[in-house]
Symmetry: D3
Subunit: 327 residues, 6 copies
C-alpha cells in the first residue's frame, strides 16, 4: 500500500510521547565535556580533481577520542570569502564519496564541507575514515554496534565527530563561522538533528539553520514496528535473535533518537518527507518535525519514497539556505 | 548469478554476426536528407536557477520534422569561450532534468549541452519535450512505439533530434564547434552510438569523441533472450502477445541497433560495462565495442550492474575528454 | 494482507466525495458535439476463422477524429436477428484479440461486438488499431499519454471511440439497436461507465444496461494511495518524477474518473468486485457502485483478486443480460 | 534469463537417454488388464447452462477401480453427427470447469469431451470428481501422492481414468468413434501422451491424433534439476525432506514419464513449446517430441512461457484437427 | 509492516465471537464414541540410533479407524520411571522426524512421545505414517483434504490420532499416565488445543497441561482475511477457484477451529505468539488464548515471526513443565 | 535453476587453481607465534539450565590478543571421562546460543565444546562474546571488517580464537585431548578448515578429524561471481562501491580462503554439499574438498540447499565421529 502510514492530516498533528531517560542531559553533558579534550587543529590540503572552477581540499580533523576523521571542503574559485558554508552528513553506509559528487553548492557560491563517516563508506558512496584503528570502512551493522551500552554505542562516536566537524569547518579562513548551515538526508538527517542540538550546547557561534531530509534514527521503536526495510531491520533482526534484550536496546537508542534532539534544537529547520517512504516512515519524520523546538517547515512529497524530492529538493535547499544567510 | 553472462575473457573477443538489412544505408541517407529541411536556428535563453558561478541557458531547437526540442546549456561564468563542449543524451524514461543536476562538467571548465528526450522525462528525470503535438512526457512504452515500420519507429525521431542537437550546440558562440564530445549512458549510450555514426555522414565538423556507458539498444535480439528486465522486457512482452510479429519487429530494430552504428563510427570512443548488468548485459555492450570501427577502449566494473562506475566513471570521463580535446 | 481494503460492511456504505471540475459537463458536451462530425458508416466484412456455427465479421468504424477503429462482430449462424447485442470493451493493454476468444456469447444466442483499443493490443490480447497515424499497438503508458491537458488525454480519444462503437453496432442489420448491453472488466469496466454516461447524452436508443466488472479508472486518486500495482503505478511513477504536477494531473483525471460517470448513468448496472483485488481496489469499485445513479447490484467475490468471478461471473452475465432484454 | 534452457538449435536435436524400468510394459499391461473389469456404461445427462446453440451434457463414467469420474460433452445443436470429437485433459490443479469455458470447439462444429480430474478442480478450474471416496477436490500435492510405489501412485489412477474416458466418449451416439483427437496442455499434455500410448494398447479404434501443448511430467528428473517452480517443486521439496528416497521416487516416476509414453505412441502429434517456459522447460518438451514414435511437429513460441500460444495456438489446433479428420 | 496485526494492547483484549455449529458437541461425541472401538495395544520397539544416554523406542499405535500411526518415545537411560511425559504434535507438513531431533527433553529427565502425522512428513521433517492405505507422506494440501464434509475432513482423522496417542503413551510402563503434558507449535499447537479438549471428554487421567505455541487452525476465517501465506493460502486458493463453496468450507472448519476447542479446555496452558507472525497471525493466537476456558498465560515475542521464541521458548517450556508436574 | 552450478560429474573433478600469496605461510607463522603469548588458563563454571542428565559448563578462554571468548562445554552426567570431544564452530551471524540447543552429542556420549564467535551472536543464535572491548554482538558486516589488510581482518582474530579453543578444551579434565573432532557448517565449516590446518602447525595432539559441512569462505572470488546471496553479497556490495579495491580485497581474502587451508590439512575429513546451495555454492565446496590434503569424503544432497542434510547429516556425523575415535 503506497500510503501505508497515517493519512497526511493525521501526520501533521502526530505528536507521540517521547521516550527519554532521566539522565539524558547528563549523558550528553558528560560526553561533550570528555570529548572537548580531543579537539585539535584540522588539516586542509588542496587536491586537484580536475574541477578548475573550484578550490577543493582534503580535510582531516580530530573526531571522537581524537581519532582522525576525513572530510572534503569545496568552494568556488572566483568568489572571495569568508563564505556561507553548508556542512553535509551522509546517509547510512556512505562516506564522503568523490569530489565530483559535490559540485552543486560551490557552483551556487557556497563553501561545502562534507564529513566522512567512520567505518561507513562502502555501501553507496566511498569513504576514507576508519572507526578507530581497528577497522576501515566496512559493510553495514552500524545500528547495533556497541548497542548494549550508550557509552559504547557507535552513534555516540559518530555524533561527536559531527559536533567536531562544525568546529573544524569554522577554523578555515574561507568559511564564515557565523553562517554555517547543517544538512543531511536519512541517516544524515538524523546526524543533523543530533549535531544541531549538541552544537548549541557547546559552540558559541552555532549553525544558523538545519536541513533535515527524511531523517533516520527518529522515533526508532515505532519505526521498527511499521517498517521491515534496511537499515531499521538490523534492530529487528538483532532483537529477533536476542529476545531478552528488547528493553535494554531501546534504552540505549533513547539517548540517540532524533525526536529527543529535535525537542532541544532551536535553529530554523526545513524537513522533507516522502509519503511512500518505507525506509524512514512518514510518522517518524513528522514525529521529529512536530517535536522540533525551533521554527520548522515540512516539504511533503506525496508520491515519493525515501528518495523524496531529489533535484526538486535541491531547489528548496538553495532557497532555504539563502533565506537563512540573508542572501 | 552475479556473473550471468559470458566470462570476461570470452566477452573481450565476443564478435557476433551483425543483422543488417540490405537498405540500411539507404534508409538513413533518406531520413537524414529529408530531415535536413527542418533545421532552424536554435533559441538560447538565460535562466537563473541560483548557480551564480555558471551561465545557464534554456535551449529550444528544431528536432525531427522541425518539432521543438528542449535542452540545457551550462558553462562556467568565469571562463572565456569558445569552450570544449559535452553533449549528453539521457537514459530511458528520463528528460533533461533540472539545472542543478548538471553542475559537474561546467565546474571542470567545459560547456555542457543536455538534450531533452521527446515524450520521455517522467521516469527518472523530468523533461519538457513532447513527442510531437500529441503528447508530452509520458510513462514508458517507447521501445515499441511505431515499431511496425522503421519509418514510424519512435527512435527514428529521437535519433534525428540527437543529430540536430549537435548542430544546435555548434551554433552557440560560447561553444567550440570543433571540440564537441558526445556522451550518454544506457539509452543515452545507444543514442550516442547513433549520433556518432549519423553525424559523421552530414556534419562537416563532427564530434571528436564519444563516451558510451553501458549502451542500451545494442545487439537487441540477443538481449531479449538473456535478460528479462525493463526496458528490454517491453519487447519481450510485446512479442509474447503479438506472436506473429517476431521477425517484423527485429527487422525494424535492425535499423536502430547500436551494433550497426558502431560498425560505422570512427571517432575515438570510451565504453564502460558492469559485469553484473542485467539491464544492458555485458555481451551486448562488448558486441558494440568489439564491432566499433574507430579506436575504442572499455572500462570494466566487475562488481557493478547497470549503475557501472558512478562517480568513479565521472573521473574517467574528465580524463578522456581532456585527452580528446588535447587539454 | 488479503483483505487489505475496508471491511465489506464499510465498503457497502462507502460514499466518498466526488472530485468534479466546474466545467465537467461543458467539457463533455463540447467533446461530443465536436466528434459528432466524424461519424461515418461502419464497414462490416465477413471473415472465415473456422467457426462454422457462427457468422464472424471484421468491423471498421470511424472513431475519434474519424480515425479508423477495428472491432469484431460475432453472431450465431442459425438464429435470425435482429439480435440482442453485447458490446465489450477490453482491459488495459489488450485489443480485440482473435475471433476464437469470443465464442461464448454467440453460443448463447447473442450478437457480440468487441471493440479494439487504439494503441493497445500488445499487452495481453492482440489488437489492430493505431492511436492515430503515428503508432500502432505499443507497450503501456496509456494512463499518462497527453495527461497534461484533458483535451490531449488519451482517454478522451478512447471514450469517444467507445461512444461511436455503439452507433456502429446499431447500424448492422442483425443487431437490434434497442437491445444493446455494454460490458467490460477492469479498464473495460471504466470504458463501460464512460460509454454508458456519454451515450445517454447523444444516443436516442441508448443501451439497456451495463456490466461493470472490477472497473479501473474509478476513484483514481484514492487508488494511487492504496495500491502500488500496474497500471495505477504509471501515475505514481509519473508523479514521483514530476513532483510539481500532482494537482494538474488529478485535475485532468477528474474528467475521466468512473465515479463521475457513474453519478450520471441511469441504465441498470451489474458490478463485480474481488475483495483481494489490488489492481482495482474494492473501495474504488464500491465508490463507483455506490455513486451509481441508476439501479445497481454488486456481485462480491471474497477470495478473488482482479480475476474476480471468471467463468462463474460469465454465468451471472448471461442471467443479467437475459433479465435486461426480457428474454 | 528468459532463454534459460538450451539454444533452439540444440533443443531441436536434444535426445536424452530415456530411463525406463525393465518391467515397464509388464506394469502397464497388468494395470490395463486389471482395470478392464471396471468399464461400465457412461451416463449422459443434458444440462441447460444457457448456451442455446449447443447441446451440453453432464457425463459420468467409470474410472480407475470403477470409481465415478465426471466430464462435459458439448456439441453444436445444428450439426448432425456422428461428429469428430476432441477429448481434452486439464492442467495441474484444474477440473472440467464450467460449461461456458468450452464453447470454442463446438462453435467450430466439433464435439468436445472434457474430462474432470480426480481430486483436482480447486486450483484454477473447478471440478466435481473425488479421488475415490476419501476426498473431493483439494489443494495440490498430487505429484507425490502415493509416490512410494508405482501401484499406489496417483497418476496410475488418473491415467486409467483418461483411457476409460476415450471409451466413454466413443459410446455416445453423436460421437464418431473413429475420429477422436486427444488434447491437453501442461499436465493435460502429459495425460495426452499417456492416453495416446495406453489407448493404442487396448482400443480397437484408437484416436487419430494428439495435441500436446507444453507437456508436464516429461523428462521429470531433468526438470527438477533446472526449474524450481510449481508443480515440479513438489518433488524437489519432498526429496529435500526425504533425502534417502531419491532413487525410489525416480523409479516410480519412470513408469509415468511422458518421454517413455512418447517413445511408444504412433498417432500423428502436434506439440507446442514456449522458450521462456520455466514450468515445463523447453528441453523436457523437446525430449518428449524428439522421442515421439509417430509423426510429430513442434510449434515454437520464442517469447512465451507456459502460456505458450494462447489464442494463437487455438488457431493451430483447428487446422491440425481438420487435417487429422480430413475435413 | 512488521506489526501488521492489532497493537498489543488490543490483542490482549481481543475476544471475537466464536462461530460454532449447533451440533458441534454431538459431532465430536459421535466421532469419539465411534473411534473408541479402534483402540488397540500400542507396540514399542527399542531402536539404536547411537544415543547411548537415552532409551529410544519406535512406537506403532492404532489411530483413526484403527490405522497404524507411528511415534517415537525417548527417555533418559539413567532415570527410573514412571516419568513425567511430554507428548508433541508436529507443525504443518512435518512428521516425527529422526530420533536425533528430540534429545532435549530426555536430557532434562522427561520422557518424550513424538507423534507422527498421517500423510505429512515430507515438508520439513520426515515421517513414516500414511493417511490410510492409499498414500504415504505427500506434499501439502491437507488443509482442504475432504473439506466438503466434516466427516471426511482430514483433520477429523488427525485429531483422533492425537487423542489415541495420549492413551498409547499412557500404556508404556516408563510413562507416568498422570503426568502427561501436551505440546506443539503451529499446526502442532492446533492439534494440542484439539487433543486437550477432546481428551478431557474421554480420558480418565487427562493431561495436566498444554503448551500451545503460535497455534495454527485457530480463528481460521479471520486468518484467511489477513494473511496470504502458506498454509492458510490453501484455503484462499481453494475458495478463489470454488467460489460457491465459501460458506460450506467455513462450516466444516468451524468443527475444527482451535477457538472452539480452547473454549472447552480447562487444563493449565501456556501460549506463545510472535507479533511479526504472518503464518499464524497474532490476533488468531490471542483469540484462542483469550477464549481459553482454563488458566492460560501468553509469552509474547515482539520481534519474532512464526519461529517465535526458538531456544528461548524451550527454556519457558522446561519451567512450565516443572511447574505443572510439581517438580 | 535448482542445479545452477556445474553438473555433479564435473564438480567431482573440479580442481581450480588456488590463489595463494607468496608470504602465506610466513603470515600465519608470524600470527600464530605472536598469539601464543596470550594463552591463559580457561575458566570452566558449571551452570544449571535444567538438563539434569548432562553436566553443562560455561567456559571463558583467552582468544586473540588474550581477549575473553565464551564457550559451552556439555557432557553426559553418567559417563566417566576423559571423553572424546567435538568442538563446534558456528555459522555466520550466530553465537554459542543457549545450552538447550546442544543436547544431541552429549546424549550420544560425547563431550561437546561450542565456541562463541566474537561480535557475532545476533543473527540466528545468541552469543556473549565481544569483538574486543569496543563492541558486543552486532549485526552483520564481519566479512569486510578490517579487510584492507590481512593483519586487521576480522577473520584473523576469529581463526586465532578457534585455534585457542582447541587448547582450552584440551585442558578440561573430562576431555580426552587426543580424541578431539572439529566440526562446523557454513562459516563454521570455514573455521573448521582454518582450525584444522592451523592447529596442526602448533598443537602437539591435533584433532583426529574434521566435519566440514557446506563450508563458507572457500574459493571466495569464484563464489562472488556465481552467487548474489548473503553473506558473500557483503563483498559484492563493498566492491560495488569501492571499485578500486578489488585486487586488494582478494589479496586479503587469499590468506583466509578455505581452499588454501584445505591444501595443508591432513586429518581425515568429511564434507557435505547441497547441490541447490546458493549460499555456499557446490563448486566452492568441491574446490575445498578436491584440494584437501588428507583423506576426505563428500556427502552429496542433490535436492537440498544450504540446509544440506539436516538431521540426516547428524546421523552421518555420529558415524564418522565413532569411526575417527575408534568407538
Amino acid at each position: 500500500m503506497p500510503h501505508f502510514d497515517l493519512p497526511l492530516a493525521e501526520l501533521r498533528r502526530y505528536l507521540p510521547e517521547r521516550d527519554e531517560p532521566a539522565d539524558y542531559d547528563a549523558f550528553w553533558d558528560r560526553t561533550l565535556s570528555e570529548q572537548r579534550a580531543h579537539a585539535t587543529s584540522p588539516v586542509f590540503e588542496e587536491v586537484d580533481a580536475g574541477y578548475s572552477q573550484l578550490v577543493t581540499e582534503d580535510v582531516t580533523f580530530a573526531g571522537f577520542d581524537g581519532q582522525p576523521v576525513k572530510a572534503w571542503l569545496l568552494r568556488p574559485r572566483h568568489v572571495r570569502g569568508p563564505l556561507p558554508t553548508v556542512i553535509t552528513y551522509i546517509g547510512y553506509g556512505g562516506g564522503r564519496g568523490l569530489l565530483g559528487e559535490w559540485t552543486g553548492l560551490p557552483s551556487a557560491g557556497f563553501a561545502h564541507f562534507v564529513m566522512d563517516l567512520r567505518g561507513q563508506g562502502s555501501g553507496h558512496r566511498t569513504g576514507d575514515t576508519g572507526d578507530g584503528p581497528l577497522t576501515g570502512p566496512h559493510h553495514g551493522g552500524f545500528l547495533t554496534l556497541g548497542i548494549a551500552d550508550p557509552d559504547t554505542y557507535y552513534y555516540r562516536r559518530l555524533f561527536m565527530d559531527a559536533v567536531h566537524a562544525v568546529e573544524a569547518a569554522q577554523q578555515h579562513p574561507a568559511v564564515d563561522p557565523a553562517r554555517i548551515v547543517l544538512s543531511g538526508g536519512s541517516q544524515g538527517g538524523g546526524i543533523t538533528l543530533a549535531a544541531a542540538a549538541l552544537t548549541q550546547r557547546v559552540n558559541d557561534t552555532p549553525p544558523v539553520g538545519a536541513i533535515v531530509d527524511v531523517p533516520f534514527l527518529a522515533h526508532v521503536r515505532h519505526a521498527t514496528e511499521i517498517v521491515a526495510t534496511a537499515p531499521y531491520s538490523e534492530i529487528v533482526n538483532y532483537l529477533g535473535t536476542r529476545r531478552n534484550d528488547v528493553e535494554a536496546v531501546f534504552r540505549t537508542l533513547s539517548y540517540f533518537d532524533g525526536v529527543n534532539f529535535a525537542a532541544r534544537s532551536t535553529m530554523p529547520a526545513m524537513f522533507s518527507v516522502g509519503l511512500l517512504d518505507d525506509v524512514c516512515p512518514p510518522s517518524c519524520v513528522f514525529a521529529a518535525h512536530n517535536h522540533y523546538a525551533g521554527p520548522a517547515r515540512m516539504k511533503v512529497y506525496p508520491y515519493n519514497g525515501h528518495e523524496q524530492g531529489g533535484a526538486f529538493q535541491d531547489v528548496e535547499h538553495l532557497a532555504f539556505i539563502r533565506e537563512l544567510i540573508g542572501d
